[in-house]
Point group: C2
Chain length 205, copies 2
């Protein structure tokens, strides 16, 4: 029996308050084929953070060298520190048949999609701006001003959702996770990923 053994490169984005982290945690629980990409950063580890689990903690020299060797799928600089997605572990995961998820903001997602047209991109939407506003206010840890800023950023991000292959709504968590599983399953049956499959069926007489 012929199967496609390579996994998928999956770009997952969504605004703050869409519930990405909860969705991802549940997705990892229900779908053993999914793994999460670990980002690299030059910022120092915070207490309790582990190298190779929370982040790959690299020196600036190491990070810059990786960039120059095309070893980063995407990268960006914030507040004098580098952040990025090392190519090596992602490609190894895919070759081992895992669907490797990159949780990434919209700009990083765009870098990935441009360089990797085979990537599957999914945008997680809140049911409405009203619900998003409610979720962000409910956290209660931030001032009204900061919440308003987050909502404005969320709006800008959602306006970019049409650049993604798929949009899923996180209203009910289980539905949302099932939608993502369906997308991953369906993408593996795409003819563009199955060229060899057709050949092998024909060959095996």
């Amino acid at each position: 029996m012929v199967t496609n053994r390579e996994g998928l490169l999956v770009v997952l984005s969504g605004p703050s308050g869409a519930g990405k982290d909860t969705v991802l945690r549940r997705l990892l629980e229900v779908n053993p084929n999914v793994t999460l990409s670990i980002s690299a950063t030059t910022r120092p580890p915070r207490e309790g953070e582990e190298h190779g689990k929370d982040y790959y903690f690299l020196s600036k020299a190491e990070f810059v060298q990786l960039i120059s060797k095309n070893g980063m799928l995407e990268h960006a600089q914030y507040c004098d520190n580098y952040y990025g997605t090392p190519r090596g572990p992602v490609e190894e995961g895919i070759q081992r048949g895992h669907d490797v998820i990159l949780e990434i903001e919209v700009q990083g997602g765009e870098q990935i999609r441009k360089k990797n047209p085979e990537a599957v991109s999914i945008f997680i939407l809140p049911p409405s701006m009203k619900v998003l506003s409610h979720r962000l206010h409910k956290r209660g840890t931030e001032s009204e001003e900061i919440v308003e800023k987050r909502l404005a950023t969320a709006r800008k991000e959602i306006e970019q959702a049409d650049k993604y292959d798929y949009v899923v709504i996180n209203d009910d968590l289980e539905d949302c996770v099932r939608d993502i599983c369906d997308i991953l399953s369906a993408e593996k049956k795409r003819t563009t990923r199955s060229g060899k499959l057709i050949e092998e069926v024909l060959k095996n007489e």
Copy 2:
């Protein structure tokens, strides 16, 4: 909560012996959202065949008039009779939110895909030519010569599978049906079908 209420137009093809009919019967059992398109023909009904269930039985004049009014999604002529897919019932089903499946041979499928780029096309593959040959021989109702002809036709059809959006293998029936359900589910989350969804999320403040 916003949802896409329109169903999908689904083209399903596969060679004789791939098990299309069994797959379809099971798909209709497990997925209440799926309906099967009924073909029209000008050949007379056989015993037990019902108008509007097995076929729409039309006169040649009726059939030709439908073609001229763009009332056929596709049509073909075999042995002096017309066969085709009436547009009306398919579009009504889709508007009611059903995924309407057109079980159709490769040429008809091509007509549909060209005129309806939004159609989702799925090709059902046997696990191998060896298995297909075994299945066709097992029927035992046809001469060796006819089986060989069917196998040659199947090979030609499978060579066209790369024109379809998806290929699914019918090795295990339940797996194959689940694959198709996943594809239908995923296709509804395609951004190209969700333009209004993004708008509505943004609007609902």
